[in-house]
Symmetry: C3
Subunit: 154 residues, 3 copies
C-alpha cells in the first residue's frame, strides 16, 4: 500500500470496490493528466447508506458522513483508473450536490465531509477548489452526490 492508502487505513477506512454505474457510463475517465470521476453516490456494499432530502429526512451531520462515503467511492474510482493513488498530484476540483429541502442552506458543512477526507488522504495535494449546491433531487433519492477532477503524474 502507498502513502495515501496508509493514511486512509489509519482512519479505519479501506478503498472499497468501485461502485458500478447506475446507467450507461463509466465511473472514471482519464484524459491526459486529468482524471474525471462520475458523480459518486453514498453507496456502501451496493446499496445507498441513506435516502431522502437533507434538511428534511436527513440531518446535516448524517449528510456530512454520507459525503465522506461519496468521496471514498470517488477515491475507489480513481484507483481503478491509475492503480496507485500516490500518483495523484493534486485534487483539482470537487463539486458537491446536496439534495436539499429548499429551506436548507448548510451545503458547505455537508460537503466538508468529502473535502476533509480528500485532505486527510492526500495531504496538501488534497486541497482543492470546490462548489457546493443544493439540488431538488438526486438519483435513487440519494442525499448527496460528489464528483471530482484530479491531476495525475505518472
Amino acid at each position: 500500500m502507498g502513502a495515501v492508502e496508509d493514511r486512509l487505513s489509519e482512519l479505519g477506512l479501506t478503498v472499497p470496490d468501485v461502485v458500478p454505474p447506475v446507467a450507461a457510463y463509466v465511473p472514471v475517465v482519464r484524459d491526459g493528466d486529468l482524471v474525471f470521476t462520475s458523480g459518486q453516490l453514498p453507496m456502501v456494499a451496493g446499496a445507498l447508506a441513506a435516502t431522502g432530502k437533507v434538511g428534511a429526512e436527513v440531518d446535516a451531520d448524517a449528510a456530512k458522513a454520507l459525503a465522506e462515503t461519496c468521496a471514498l467511492n470517488a477515491i475507489a474510482a480513481i484507483k481503478s483508473e491509475i492503480g496507485d493513488l500516490d500518483k495523484v498530484s493534486r485534487v483539482v476540483k470537487v463539486v458537491g450536490f446536496v439534495a436539499s429541502d429548499p429551506g436548507f442552506t448548510g451545503q458547505p458543512g455537508v460537503i466538508n465531509g468529502a473535502s476533509e477526507l480528500f485532505v486527510k488522504a492526500f495531504g496538501d495535494k488534497g486541497i482543492h477548489a470546490r462548489s457546493a449546491v443544493g439540488v431538488a433531487a438526486l438519483p435513487l433519492d440519494a442525499p448527496v452526490e460528489v464528483e471530482v477532477i484530479v491531476s495525475v503524474r505518472d
Copy 2:
C-alpha cells in the same frame, strides 16, 4: 461524412444547426485538446421540444428522448468548433441536469438518453464519466440540460 455522422445517419439522425445561445456566451470553447460545450437544451428547429418538470408535467420516457436531443445539439456545437466529428478522441465528461419534481429520482434513466447517443455516435470513444442531478428549474422551463467535455486529436 465521417464515421460518426454515418452512425448518426443510420439512426435516422442528422447533426442540426448549432443552437444559438440564449444569452451572452458561445455554444462551445476549445482550449488545447479539450472542447467544452455550453449547457444544451432540447431545442428543435429553434424551439424547445417540451417544457415542464420531470415527474410532473413530463414523464421519464419523454425526458429521456429530450436528453437525446440535448446530446445531438451538443454534437452540433462540437462539430461547429472542430469541423470533423471523427477528430473526437474521447467523450470525457457529461453532466445532465434534470428539472425535477422533488419526488422524482430517476435522473440516471433520463440522462441515459444522452449517454446512449454519445456511445452510438462515437463508439468506444463515446463512453464517458457522468453526473446526473435533479434541479429545481432550467432555462425557459426546459426539462433537461446536458453539457459535455470532449477531447480532440487533430
Copy 3:
C-alpha cells in the same frame, strides 16, 4: 495595473480581496494551464449582498447584479493565483447556479450578469461556454453561485 484591471476600473469596479472559503477548500486551484475557481457567492466585504430564492424573495434584475458580484469575486480568486489578470488567455467555461423558486425559469438572464462582466473585463478572451441551472438552495441562502475555468499563458 494591466489592461484587464484598467477595464474594470473604467466600469467603476476594483478587484476585491479574495473571499475566504466557507469551508474546507481553497478559492482557486491551477493545474497546468487551467485555473479552476471554487463556486463564488455574491459576498461584498465579508457578507452576502442578499439572500433568498430568485423568483420569490429576489427578483431577476437584482439577481443579475448579484451574478456580476460573483464574477468579480471569481476574478479576485483568479488574480490571487496568477497575479496578473492579463495572463488569462481565455475564459473557458462558466457554470451559474441560481437558487430558484421552481416557477422561475429566467436563469440565463441572471447569469448574464456574470457573463457580461467577463466579456467587459477580458474582451474577446472573455467569451465563454456556459451552463445556467436553477437549484433548490445555495450555501448561506445565497441567490446565485458562479464557478469558472480559465486558461492561462505565462
